[in-house]
């Protein structure tokens, strides 16, 4: 009774500006699915390439909060051009460092393919290591309904010619590595390794979601994922663990353990994991860390450099780049620490290594 009265009071006070009925359609329609223009040749690649999945490599907007947001920018001690883009498909270009000048690109993309000097409409994890092709997955029945199978598109980055392979199951690409495309299959939760040249796929003997671990990165013979001991609805269940799976032996090892929540942002060039380790507060933020070896992690910034979960991390020979929609672009180097780089760019999501 009392609870009902409180509910009624709150509803009376707050139900004063109802939602625009068109908001749902507007939001869904605005999801940044990149639809490439139809090609004039027979290469009629399906305009359902999904840039916005941004799944692993392009995790949306970096939100630096609190004091980190107010930190001064710093010049980097080297010169390079950093490809940058934004989530709204309004700007892609290059940030010239160290001066921070921005040069718009001709066209838009999610990932800059430095090997070919072109922009691609997919996350970097879907791009072949040599940059000459990219992949995306499209379910078989594009008109609706849920199906088990899917089409894997292998698109030549230059000619846009499209080779389509029928996959035995629907799912999502983890990463295109030198040994093939790692793919999380849906129906039996297996991870497949797909030969992009033949379309042949075979399970590599690990369960995508086995043992409560969700494998989201593959590199140098290891798969990486996080465990959630209590499941999503028990977010306070510690410990949280970063797991490393040796693909040659199938042995999974706890690699880093934390009493607060972890988010895996990606791997660096040496295959070391970059994560956010929760601050323990309830605001969805934490400190960036790198796990250098088993049970050995270092903080990448000072205690007041707090990031939200939502960010992009890309590693290159200069260091780790962090970026996002609200917080500018940041660089971590062992010598210089974590600092915000000078930028006049309207686009603030890093789209590839600094070249």
């Amino acid at each position: 009774m009392i609870h009902d009265r409180i509910r009624h009071r709150l509803a009376s006070a707050l139900d004063v500006e109802p939602m625009d009925p068109a908001l749902r359609a507007r939001i869904v329609a605005s999801m940044p699915i990149y639809r490439p223009r139809a090609q004039s040749s027979a290469a009629s690649w399906v305009p359902q390439v999904i840039a916005a999945a941004l799944v692993v490599a392009v995790v949306a907007g970096l939100v630096f909060i609190g004091r980190a947001q107010r930190q001064q920018t710093a010049s980097v001690p080297f010169a390079c051009r950093l490809p940058v883009t934004n989530a709204n498909r309004t700007a892609s270009g290059f940030l010239s460092l160290p001066d921070g000048k921005y040069t718009p690109a001709n066209g838009y993309g999610i990932t800059y393919d430095a090997a070919l000097g072109i922009w691609l409409p997919v996350p970097s994890s879907w791009v072949a290591p040599n940059g000459r092709a990219f992949a995306y997955v499209n379910r078989l029945d594009a008109t609706g309904g849920i199906v088990d199978t899917a089409m894997l598109h292998i698109v030549d980055a230059v000619t846009r010619s499209d080779t389509v392979w029928l996959l035995p199951q629907s799912g999502a690409i983890i990463r295109w590595n030198v040994d093939g495309i790692y793919f999380n299959a849906e129906s039996n939760a297996e991870t497949l390794l797909i030969n992009p040249a033949t379309g042949e796929s075979h399970p590599i003997g690990i369960k995508t979601r086995g043992q409560g671990t969700w494998w989201t990165e593959v590199q140098n013979g290891y798969a990486w994922g996080l465990t959630f001991p209590g499941g999503y609805d028990s977010l306070n269940s510690a410990p949280f663990q970063l797991m490393r799976l040796d693909l040659s032996t199938g042995e999974a090892s706890p690699w880093y353990t934390s009493q607060t929540e972890l988010r895996l942002l990606g791997l660096d060039l040496e295959g070391r994991a970059i994560l956010i380790e929760g601050s323990g507060s309830s605001d969805g933020s934490g400190r960036p860390i790198a796990v250098l070896a088993q049970n050995k992690a270092v903080h990448l910034g000072t205690a007041d450099q707090i990031f939200s979960w939502d960010q992009i991390a890309i590693a290159d020979s200069h260091g780790y780049w962090f970026s996002g929609a609200m917080g500018g672009i940041w660089l971590y180097t062992p010598a210089g620490g974590l600092r915000r780089v000078k930028s006049e760019s309207p686009a603030d999501m890093v789209a590839g290594p600094c070249i």
Partner: protein, 177 residues
């Protein structure tokens, strides 16, 4: 993840917009109510929801196996609103207390306006707990999952919020212990 939501999630992960709509679309309206409850400004609530939806889209790979999409999405919405409340505009809204007019009985307008003003002055974490539990009518367990605190903390936050709002709610403090 053989359940329908899990299958939709996989499709959405692979970039299927209709699957994303099927997953998140039904949460837009309650998500708006959550955002509005926290921000009390339509444009700000819509912006927060738009940003949250984009983040949800881009972070589908982080959804945990077998988990429900709802607390995950609401946590993103709440986080987005927290960011908005940290912004400069929020202080303008908070202090200026703009109120709407409509076809409401006068006393209801006054009381609603007073309550809205009082809600704006609540600490964010208390307001979140109150809005999720009473305005969105979610179970305590889900409020705890969304706000990432134990259930006991949720209860405590609601209790303190009610204590602060008691004169405007006509509710005894024992309502939530």
């Amino acid at each position: 993840m053989g359940d329908p939501e899990g299958r939709l999630l996989e499709l959405a992960r692979s970039g299927d917009r209709s699957a994303f709509d099927a997953l998140v679309g039904p949460l837009v309206e309650p998500g708006y109510r959550l955002a509005y409850g926290l921000l009390q400004q339509r444009e700000a609530a819509e912006d927060a929801l738009q940003e949250a939806a984009f983040k949800a889209w881009s972070k589908l790979g982080n959804v945990r196996p077998g988990s429900s999409i709802r607390p995950w999405f609401f946590a993103i919405v709440a986080n987005q609103c927290r960011s908005a409340r940290r912004g400069r505009w929020w202080w303008v809204v908070k202090l200026a207390s703009p109120e709407l007019q409509g076809n409401w009985p006068e006393d209801q307008i006054v009381r609603g306006a007073d309550l809205r003003r009082a809600l704006r002055l609540l600490p964010t974490e208390r307001l979140e707990a109150l809005v999720l539990y009473y305005y969105l009518d979610l179970p305590l367990e889900e409020v705890a999952a969304i706000t990432r605190v134990p259930i006991g903390t949720v209860k405590s936050r609601i209790h303190r919020a009610l204590e602060q709002l008691r004169p405007l709610l006509d509710a005894p403090l024992e309502a939530f212990v």
